[in-house]
Amino acid sequence: MAATPQLQLRCCAASGCRSAGSAALQAALLAARDQLGGAAEAVTIKPVGCLRLCGRGPLVALDRRGGDGQEPSAGSTELYAELTPEQAPALLAAATGLGEAPTAQRLDPAHPFFALQKPVVLEGCGVVNPESIDDALAHGTYAQLRRVLLECTPEQVRDQVKRSGLRGRGGAGYPSGLKWDTVALQPPGPRYVVCNADEGDPGAFMDRSVLESDPHRLIEGMAIAAYAVGAEQGYVYVRAEYPLAIERLRLALRQARGKGLLGSGIAGSSFNLRLEVRVGAGAYVCGEETALLASIQGQRGTPRPRPPYPAQKGLWDAPTLINNVETLTSIPVILREGGDWYASIGTEGSKGTKVFALSGAVANTGLVEVPMGTTLRTVVQTIGGGVPGADGPDGGVKAVQTGGPSGGCIPAHLLDTPVDYESLKALGSMMGSGGLVVMGETTSMPEVARHFMRFSVNESCGKCVPCRAGTVQLAHLLDRFVERRATLADLERLEELCTMVGATSLCGLGQAAPNPVLSTLRYFRQEYQAACRDPDQCEPLDACVLQEVTR
């Protein structure tokens, strides 16, 4: 192995920074290094995954000491944002002590946005080169897979996962260990393992970041899961909207096969596993597990009634374990540090950390991993910096939307709610996959509700009538509120239909489609009332005035 470099520039090459010009920046850095020569030649320039603050890309991290394969300590790393290719020579010169760093671009690593994060799933994200298995191996990826195959029985692996208290990060929060047991304990026969990477909630980009930043860790997690449940074939179902993620995942799979970490007799054991990528084609409903299975089998992505659950009858009617990207990516760390370690993070009912994608009307947008139980206020105001240009106790925040089209809007006065499965559910929202969209004071809530309802209309598969026809009717009703021509009878009908669609739809998409309406009705009812045209029943509330301003 080559001598460990003293100076290293980590350039974010995930799609957020890419769209902001990171490729040109990295090329400029490489050219500047050649041009400067001398001390600059010793600077390693390495593409890495997400450096978190996506809203200010392209981002570059400068590590001043990277001795003995140790990660640089926080104090020795500098972070730069919004760099242009023209600034590349200056950055290199500054790194080698030959010039002034572009201070305007320098970020403070002690800022709460970075300091309050606890990287577990994102441990390697922004550290490893996502296109190099050698770099991944140097950072310890696949070590747990090898260890587990040599030292542990599948039962022991499942036991650690149960001890960790890990719950599914796709949204529903089903205990992962229990799911693994269910699959493993089915009658003998073939089994499958499936990674759900069909991240479709608007406002969610956690899984994309993991796939683009640290694909080998996901593959390791999947391989461990396959071993634990006795599967020899697996699929990663990725949405087609993520071309870079697909490219890197495919590359990582090829590399892993090349190193004997996938295929037959993995790492000298008798364990075999084939993993394939399946690319979606633009259907949100395929995030629902039975629809996803239909899509993997080349069919229309329509869900089917459960039970039987996929753990009993999944792909080709065989027991199938389906976990999402974040869940599976947590596995290697859980096995390395132990289930009890993981369970010591977070709250009683929600263990570990959660990755959020923070966006919307917030100063710092990007990827945030915090312990479960962190309050929304910490995430949105301390980490996120609140609404730009606004102040006041709630930092200009009107509501926080969690859980995408299946979730709800949590009003500013409830920002002290801890983020965990039960608390969010109690507020009429849900954890969802982890999108957090901040809404400022000018956002009209009936419009937000209509936005999500139109999404559900568009994405309904059309199989069951409450979702197919009910969401259309709900969207029409919401039009009346947005256009301020509703009546109180409409309000009644809206609530009645929301209840019916939620209770009777076949799958999670339809069952949760009314949530954005119900939660905004719960916390911002006056905005709906103000949109009713019966003059004697329209109270002159602030919301009326507010809506006039925002329209």
Partner: protein, 239 residues
């Protein structure tokens, strides 16, 4: 053969293993409306009319697509379920163009029957008046998409019983429609054997014989079940 004992609206019934909750409900002598379900075809659980409440958990499950299990207790006629069923029928009527007065299936239409059964005489939701097609290209049959409720019985009978798979569902959400071949005129699809099973299973007047006019459609909705028992059990009841 093992038997499961369960209760339906408090009444005890015994059904053989492999039976569905719908079988159990029927064994108890309770009438449950169904539209997408048809004996002899695989269940899809799409119309949501046969939803029943699991007494212990309060969960709603489609009776047609849920296996009956030992000790289950289901409720079929709670006020809430009746309310939901009525709304589902309203949604069916509002999303298509259903005009009974001059429909070929008037008097022999399952949608009509269900509307009567749940007490729905008008929809409180605005009618969508969708712009749909009529395909009369087949020499003997026609399909009027205005009357289609997307139950997919035609798709299933053609695939599972006839083996021709002429029909499928295209598009999604409110845009869904039944298609023949590559969304071609029915008469041009060579796979069609003109067996007429889709006409027989269609619950409404969407698929009909061209000879029939208003209120003249007759449908033989037992056909899939009879054919299936002939094929699988070698028992011929379709003399």
């Amino acid at each position: 053969m093992s038997v499961h004992t369960l209760t339906v609206d408090g009444m005890e019934v015994a059904v053989p293993e492999g039976a569905t909750l719908l079988d159990a409900v029927r064994a108890a002598g309770v009438e449950l409306p169904t539209l997408c379900h048809l004996d002899g075809l695989s269940p899809v659980g799409a119309c949501r009319l046969c939803l029943v409440e699991m007494e212990t958990s309060g969960h709603l499950q489609p009776a047609c697509a849920t296996a009956a299990g030992e000790g289950m207790a289901v409720l079929t006629q709670t006020p809430q379920l009746q309310h939901y069923r009525r709304m589902a029928v309203e949604l069916f009527f509002a999303e298509g163009n259903h005009v009974c007065a001059f429909c070929v299936a008037n008097g022999n239409c399952e949608l009509q029957d269900v509307a009567v059964a749940v007490g729905m005489d008008h929809s409180r939701f605005p009618y969508q008046y969708p712009n749909r097609r009529v395909d009369a290209s087949h020499p003997r049959f026609a399909i009027d998409h205005h009357r289609c409720i997307l139950c997919t019985r035609c798709v299933r009978v053609c695939d599972e019983i006839e083996g021709a798979h002429v029909w499928d569902v295209a598009n999604r959400g409110g845009e869904c429609s039944i298609i023949a071949g590559l969304d071609q005129p029915w008469g041009e699809v060579q796979a069609c054997t003109s067996c007429g099973k889709c006409v027989d299973v269609c619950p409404t007047g969407a698929i009909f014989r061209k000879d029939d006019t208003t209120a003249e459609k007759e449908a033989n909705r037992e056909r899939p079940q009879l054919l299936r028992s002939a094929r699988e059990q070698h028992q011929w009841q379709n003399q």
